[in-house]
Symmetry: C2
Subunit: 353 residues, 2 copies
């Protein structure tokens, strides 16, 4: 057992405060990691606020973790101290169900262990996340950060990035694909960059004309204003693949209209009932709506490698730990382009009573 | 030009009445067909009643047509007089768009020509369907009825059958597939028979315990009562593929729950807004909802050949033309197991004023 500094919430809606937390002693297959950077994800705020009714306090969020190996258990074979590593949304799973065997640990039929507010499969203790100096993680859930990938910006790939990468790959987006991305936030901006890097022609669909320049700067070739009925009508059946990042209840019918034959709309944001989907829009053109949840370990490693090779990085604003609460408030006001990353070095000097 | 007897509607909601109609003179690529049998489809009633607001009167319905070739145009190469043939929901399309080139004429981007209440691509006249003694159809839209297929029962394959066959094939249903069919009407009973013949394990989901014996008689290995919450809960994530034949607005969430990882629910009935689909049910397990519309010519021929080879036939009640109006009323009261077929021989003796 060891202790380290962290930032966490003691109760719903309270500001995050510095605290000391315990990390488990290394098991044989564990990797101990000194955390250098941790991205801030919208779900961190949902957890801290107990929006999903399942938060256990104190809650230390953070599942976009980048750092270096400080120690390894005796059975660890892939990592050694000093290695650049990353940990995403998952730290364990059953490893034996069909989903795990397919490398889709996020769909583990027994339920994967979340990086924070999960339950350790051995001790049943609540897991604590990456807003902390260090973490101990089972080797199979540790990813390698390629030398060419800037550590400061790698964090958001582990949640925002993999969330959009999984469906881009599942549906074979590549050269010639006609892709639309609905919403230009943390997930949307990664989807644009990744789809462009995969060779697709990318349109951003937004309610806000003011985002057109940003969309083009990210690589989009076109911008479609969803509030412009003529433009929407003119784009009917234009796309093969639409990534819908809207995080709340909404009407997908105007987007379904834009799908051509066998086109697919993938929800990655809305975890709630949608407004009434029109059956005829699915029957005509054989359109589909599907959803996608983060991604498995092999796909996440593939993403890190792809981003290193193609120099694709999220646009991040780096804050120190003392700025966490202000960053949370700005994130919830959509005042960030496009993700916050916490520089964890600033946590090492914090004195916690 | 030639005239023949038919049964049609002169105005919305009126009974069908005998009438004389004209059939075009053979074009070079046309096949003239003497109709022996024509299935009655729910959409025939919708058209006759103008439920979709697009009916042109007089309307002669019927798009499950089975008969024999009586004459061919000079450029026809695949058929000769006497051949056993069939015509389904489509009698023409542009033949040049990507959908047509893929043999998906039902998705022709210029709009296919429907067998009735469509518009002839040359004359712009309204097409008249199969509740008639004869029909003239472009060769490419004429199907071959294999010798082993009973002509009396082939009709419903051309709409009910192909509607369920297309998604069964698109999603690779076969040995080992865990399939559920929601609703046991004309479409549902064909889906059960075809999925069983493809080697799948088939469950029928129904509101009515009284349908259990029927479902098993059709080949289903299991029956799930959608009104039994415990049974539904116990079946969570059990299926790979659900064919949803419910023809009206409904709640798909209880069925989505039943899909395992990458599972697909295919709508073939509901052409209207669904009750609110829950986004989380799509995101978890990467479930999809999609729709499917009848099928293309190659798939329809494949279905006829498959049914001949595997001796799969719809359960039909055969009526003569004088029973059309009674059959319509019984169909709309769901009082048929499972499709009506009109014996068109009975139309030849009708005297029309």
């Amino acid at each position: 057992m060891s202790t380290c500094n962290a930032y966490g919430a003691c109760e719903a809606h309270a500001d995050l405060t510095p605290m000391r937390i315990e990390r488990r002693a290394l098991r044989a297959d564990d990797v101990a990691i000194v955390i250098d950077y941790c991205g801030i994800c919208h779900s961190d705020a949902h957890a801290v606020h107990n929006d999903w009714g399942s938060t256990v306090y104190p809650c230390v969020p953070g599942h976009e973790i980048v750092g270096r190996v400080s120690a390894v258990g005796p059975r660890v074979t892939r990592f050694k101290p000093g290695d650049r590593v990353a940990v995403g949304c998952l730290v364990d799973s059953c490893q034996t169900c069909p989903s795990c065997e397919d490398g889709q640990q996020q769909n583990c039929t027994q339920g994967p262990t979340a990086t924070y507010n999960g339950r350790d499969r051995h001790t049943r203790e609540t897991t604590l996340g990456g807003y902390s100096e260090s973490i101990v993680v089972r080797e199979e859930f540790v990813l390698r950060v390629p030398a060419a990938l800037d550590m400061r910006y790698a964090g958001p790939l582990l949640c925002a990035g993999i969330t959009v990468w999984t469906p881009l790959r599942r549906y074979g987006v590549g050269a010639g694909s006609r892709v639309a991305v609905v919403g230009l936030g943390g997930l949307g901006h990664m989807a644009v960059k990744l789809a462009v890097a995969l060779g697709a022609q990318v349109t951003v669909i937004t309610t806000s004309a003011s985002k057109a320049d940003d969309a083009r700067a990210l690589g989009a070739s076109d911008v479609l204003l969803s509030k412009d009925p003529k433009a929407m009508q003119a784009a009917a059946s234009r796309f093969d693949f639409i990534l819908d990042t809207i995080p709340t209840k909404h009407n997908v019918n105007p987007y379904l209209m834009l799908l051509g034959r066998n086109g697919v709309l993938v929800l990655v944001g809305a975890l709630e009932p949608l407004e009434a989907v029109h059956g005829a829009l699915l029957v005509m053109n054989n359109r589909s709506i599907t959803g996608s949840l983060i991604g498995g370990l092999p796909a996440t490693q593939e993403l890190l490698d792809f981003c290193a090779e193609h120099n694709v990085l999220p646009d991040c604003e780096i804050v120190d730990v003392h700025g966490i609460n202000a960053a949370f408030r700005r994130m919830q006001a959509n005042d960030v382009k496009y993700r916050f990353v916490i520089d964890m070095a600033s946590l090492r000097d914090v004195k916690v009573d």
